[in-house]
Symmetry: C2
């Protein structure tokens, strides 16, 4: 932009306006009305009134530049929205309504204020879409960009969806399609000679995921699911977490896995195996959950119609001794190992 | 240690045990019983039941290696305790009881597990001393060590101590002594030719601050203070925040400022001015609060006796038009500028 302007003006940075100038600017941009918030930014801590008859859920996620994201591939606005979406997804997996969030941000001092504001706009917009208000935070200097959101949600007492409630025999379901997000990242990282029409949908799923809030709420309020988890590190990892907590095994049918036409086309064009993205890709932010057979027809018939989110039954829970098995299209039974993303993987 | 052992064993690192091995280890070490916690580590989010008749306060703080601390000067255990203390101090400044915390940590992959465990022990010990339980978190890779705590506290409805409630004429008080912590940091950074007896007390104040929890609670539950703030960035900065929020000015008497004998001796020996540490030093984590004249004798007489924490009246609140003034020992009135720590200061 600068070279098209008659005079070169120095862009405003966090350094030029200072920490407290920055806080004042952010505070002004985050003024919203949420009746449960008694006091937001501007005190040692925010104050809010929890809803009576509810329990609270509490989650946090940290994203580090160069590890979780690359500003060459994602805009500050998208990153803000995604960081908030990741936390809301955790609330959704508990069947809870997001309420208030605090945001810590570590910034290089020459980071442009316009980018910081776009980042906060992204967080704020995504938060407001699901009822979450940013009520406070911390701002510090850092060599690279790092952000942490801590989010509180509320859920009717006793109705939270936990990981440990599944029973042997329960059906295993997922929302949406799996693998699109990681294929979108692959497409961003390998931009040459791609079919843009195919990749656009995958990239969108990677950059701007939508938390499955309405499904989580439908499952918790009507007590339709016995357990739930969000798929952040890949299906093969998350099924292990669900089974570990519920002390069960699981059988998953390869042919039942929900794969989008975009992912199929991308993998065909690039000579890749969709199953790698589906099982180990990560960042899907779909929900994986278990439903007693007595409720399965109600879930399959009503939840997609009410929420607009497709659901697919991909297998069932079995006793722990049977382990976690993938049943291939050919009918082979192979042990399914956790191959999801480990932040400290031995490479 | 390694060279005294018969065989050189490779120390366990976060890389060698993996992210989920790490989480399992931390989860085991953090098992405690807190009746309000329904589910802690091991789900998408923790679940807890807020106390009825209470409001919740919500605060967060991020600390970045190389900006906020230097592992040459502070041990992992001390840093863990301090990070938790900083958050509890924010609760104390609101008059709230800390309840549950989530911890995000960014770690280089070769960071020794024994140091991570010491860090968590420090956080856990400090938390438990004030009623806070770690119920969840996030663990990610990072080039340098970064930690974020988000802490929830509870306070009886309507009794939170805010920054905006001070009235003109209220007395201005502080707990403890000011400037010790930053003088302790100065001593750590200038280790040559120091009187070790003098510096030890200052260094202790810097490395292991104690949140003024009991004072905060005494002030809130008995409605003795009209406003409060914790002194994290130096008195001269914090008085500006308090005045800005309460739309007032203040007068502070230099001769009333609480200065420890250690700070006096250190400054005498080193040719430094104690007032620089007292006004601009930061990291004191003392409370600065305002008391109506009708309550001042009760506060001065009873709170120190009940809490074991000394209090000092350092001035009074005045109308905003009078500004924020330091009255020197010679009776000069000089405008007091905010000189506290700005993370993005123009150096």
């Amino acid at each position: 932009m600068a070279d098209t302007q008659p005079k070169k003006t120095k862009p405003e940075t966090i350094k030029s306006i200072g920490e407290f100038g920055f806080i004042e600017k952010i505070r002004e941009s985050l003024k919203t009305k949420n009746s449960s918030v008694i006091s937001g930014i501007g005190d040692d801590a925010a104050i809010f009134k929890p809803a009576s008859g509810h329990e609270l859920v509490f989650t946090t996620d940290m994203l580090v530049e160069g590890r979780h994201f690359d500003f060459k591939l994602i805009t500050p606005w998208q990153l803000g929205a995604k960081t908030m979406a990741v936390n809301i997804s955790d609330c959704a997996a508990m069947g809870a309504k997001p309420t208030v969030a605090v945001v810590s941000i570590g910034l290089p001092k020459d980071y442009p204020m316009s980018d910081v504001e776009a980042f906060y706009e992204g967080m704020k917009g995504m938060g407001e879409a699901f009822g979450a208000q940013i009520v406070g935070g911390d701002t510090v200097g850092s060599d690279n960009f790092v952000v942490n959101i801590a989010l509180i949600g509320e859920v009717e007492s006793g109705k939270a969806l936990r990981r440990n409630g599944a029973k042997a025999g329960d059906a295993l379901l997922v929302t949406g399609n799996l693998g699109d997000s990681s294929a979108g990242l692959h497409a961003l990282q390998h931009p040459s000679a791609k079919n843009k029409d195919i990749t656009a949908a995958l990239i969108k799923r990677h950059l701007t995921p939508t938390p499955r809030f309405t499904v989580g709420r439908a499952l918790s309020t009507k007590r339709l699911a016995t357990a739930a988890i969000d798929i952040s590190d890949g299906l093969s990892s998350e099924i292990h977490h669900l089974c570990d907590e519920s002390k069960l095994g699981a059988e998953i049918h390869e042919e039942a896995l929900p794969i989008s036409s975009s992912l199929k086309a991308y993998c065909e064009a690039e000579g890749l195996n969709p199953l790698d993205f589906v099982l180990s890709g990560g960042e899907d932010y779909e929900l994986l959950f278990t439903v007693p057979l007595t409720h399965i027809s109600q879930v399959i018939q009503k939840v997609p119609a009410e929420t607009g989110t497709p659901l697919k039954s991909i297998g069932r829970m079995v006793p722990a001794a049977k382990g976690i098995t993938l049943i291939t299209r050919k009918g082979e039974r192979i042990p399914l190992k956790a191959k999801g993303f480990d932040h400290f993987a031995k490479k």
